[in-house]
Symmetry: C2
Subunit: 207 residues, 2 copies
């Protein structure tokens, strides 16, 4: 086993940052060898920024204008500079509602992670729990993966299943998937910290 | 709860019939209210026929000629006649390596079931466990579904997950999925026997 590195995480999010909370919890319970070096949001009043500050992590709003759905151009440059300034080695997308472009991926090659609320390759894209419910699956879950230039197509690090139960609404199913996300993201990051992952093509092998 | 029906199963298979064994076991342990009314194979020396006879179930080889990959024409007619002669109400595809055509589906509307060795809609088609391993998923499983005119597209009754583990080969992964199949197929059939299923579009609701 390689010596344990402490990851320096840069967390990007647009919402409440509940996955960031799971990461803080895992760090404080010593289940994850990492420090949250900075948190960046494209939404000025996103709760993820307040959550970061309450844990004494540097938190920044970066205005994504003029783009509505992606992170590109000057905003992308400012994100990269902020991550570098805080010596981030691993970029964690946690409810970041923008498409990440090649500029960020090239700045942190093989070190950008995302979590998706379905068992990929089923139900890529938006509102995956609603897609699952409409399709009528009985098992769904979540996927932590490396980000590549496709949408939800990168090599998979961890997946955890969640059942669809009778009477589920989009809200109840989403909540059940999120419980698994809060386990899966720290688990995947700890595998990275422990240098247990080897990417071969689109497969991630555990060493 | 409606009174319990005893299903009359017609099982179609091309191989060893290990899912048929799981059905026999579930019946004998009173976890499944059903009788195996007949077993039909397109392969003359398939072990599923011997397994059926050793459990005193009527077993038939029906020559699928001239078709190589589907069940159609005269062979399809003989299968339908054999199922009807044995008063089958539910057709169970258990490792049946032929495409079922509309003739059989119309003869048993809403009563033809299949099991697929992946969590559909991921990895439809042949050798799904190999597809899963190549894609690099960390969770796969099995799906019991009603058969419609697509390939592995019908409404889903039961799914059960199975993990992909480090060092898995196609064989070890397939064996782990099959363990879940042996639970899933009797479970799905018992839901049908207990009249607990209601199909709405492509969703199967549990009553």
């Amino acid at each position: 086993m390689a010596p344990m590195n402490k990851l320096r995480l840069g967390v990007l999010g647009s919402g409440t940052g509940s996955n960031l909370q799971a990461i803080f919890d895992a760090i404080s319970m010593q289940r994850l060898s990492a420090v949250v070096a900075c948190v960046i949001s494209d939404v000025p009043d996103a709760y993820i920024l307040e959550r970061a500050r309450s844990h004494r992590a540097p938190a920044f709003h970066i205005d994504p204008a003029p783009f509505k759905t992606k992170l590109e151009g000057e905003a992308e440059q400012r994100v990269i500079e902020t991550l570098r300034k805080h010596k981030v080695d691993t970029v964690v997308l946690a409810g970041f509602m923008r498409i990440v472009k090649p500029g960020l991926l090239r700045a942190f090659p093989g070190r950008v992670l995302n979590i998706h609320p379905a068992l990929l390759p089923s139900f890529p894209g938006l509102r995956a729990w609603e897609q699952a419910l409409e399709y009528g699956v009985k098992v769904t879950g979540c996927t932590v993966h490396f980000v590549d230039e496709g949408t939800d197509t990168g090599p998979i690090i961890v997946q955890r299943p969640a059942p669809v139960l009778p009477g589920d609404t989009p809200e109840t199913l989403h909540a059940r998937i999120q419980e698994q996300e809060y386990l899966a993201y720290p688990e995947a990051l700890q595998l990275l910290a422990a240098e247990c992952l080897q990417v071969e093509g689109r497969r991630v092998e555990l060493l």
